[in-house]
């Protein structure tokens, strides 16, 4: 009986250590970075539509690379290098990037009016963020759902400044996720 109790205690110790390790709350600075990018990038279609494409091309790739570098630095500082999860994130965003490029295809080929077709980016972005929230990091789910709701509002009602309003709401959701992540993270120095 003593051996069974000892085994139970050992397994409880291991389980507790593993559960503590499994929490993924995200990297606050990456949420803030994308909140800033989204805030500017989503206001552009309403106020300077011609700049929106070049801005997203530069900020999308630049922000992606910066996020990758920030995530890698954070991993080293927190003392866990998880290559399998890193590969999953990489694959997720590469597929997301391809999705964004394909969203532009109907407009580039002239089959869809850019004024209407641009909303497809919101749908694609919403799906990419929502799936990241489901499979990788939960706080991203809310930003994704807001994007999907904004897409529906934009397509059905076509109200003014929906891009800007969506950007503000998404940026708020990302900042909220960043603050939540900051509170949950325990400082662990390498």
């Amino acid at each position: 009986m003593q051996a069974t109790d000892s085994l139970r205690e050992d397994l409880q110790y291991v389980t507790s250590a593993v559960r503590q390790h499994d929490r993924t709350v995200g990297i606050p600075v990456i949420y803030y970075l994308w909140a800033a990018i989204v805030l500017v990038g989503y206001a552009l279609p309403d106020f300077a539509a011609r700049l929106a494409g070049p801005f997203w091309f530069v900020a999308g790739f630049g922000g992606g690379l910066l996020s990758w570098w920030l995530a890698s630095r954070d991993e080293k500082r927190r003392g866990v290098i998880d290559r399998a999860t890193g590969r999953r994130w990489g694959l997720h965003w590469v597929i997301g990037g391809v999705g964004f490029l394909l969203s532009a295809l109907p407009m580039v080929t002239g089959h869809v009016d850019p004024a209407f077709g641009a909303t497809t980016f919101l749908l694609t972005g919403g799906l990419i963020y929502a799936f990241a929230g489901v499979h990788l990091e939960r706080p991203m789910l809310w930003s994704g759902l807001i994007m999907l709701a904004a897409y529906a509002v934009l397509v059905i009602f076509a109200p003014p400044y929906v891009w800007t309003i969506s950007g503000i709401v998404i940026a708020f959701a990302l900042c909220w996720a960043g603050v939540a992540a900051q509170r949950q993270r325990r400082p662990v120095m390498s």
Binding site: L7, V18, K76, G79, V80, I81, D82
Partner: protein, 99 residues
């Protein structure tokens, strides 16, 4: 009980088992991270890691992060095999006790 024979002595200590399980789920983990995660003293953790290293279960790599020296640990192929064997033996023991 056959399961008892299959237990791997180096993983019979709970801290060493936790180290093995944590490394199996991740690529590399630093000494400081283990210390915080397992709530062990430097001396105790160092001794447990040394036993796993001596048994060929883990490998270490030294690096600098923010100009501070960091030791990273990873599970070797042999270590993963032995950990699997130990976990299967534990499962069998629990099943036999429950049955």
């Amino acid at each position: 009980m056959k399961a008892l024979d299959d237990l791997v002595p180096v993983f019979e200590h709970r801290a060493r088992l936790a180290i093995g399980v944590l490394l199996a789920g991740r690529g590399e983990i630093s000494f400081s991270r283990f210390k915080a995660q397992l709530e062990l003293t430097d001396g105790n953790l160092g001794a447990q890691l040394r036993k796993l290293e001596d048994a060929g279960c883990i490998a270490l790599r030294r690096d600098f992060v923010d100009r501070k020296p960091v030791t990273w640990y990873s599970l070797t192929k042999a270590g993963r095999k032995l950990l699997d064997q130990h976990l299967h033996a534990l499962q069998a023991m629990i099943a036999e006790t429950a049955g």
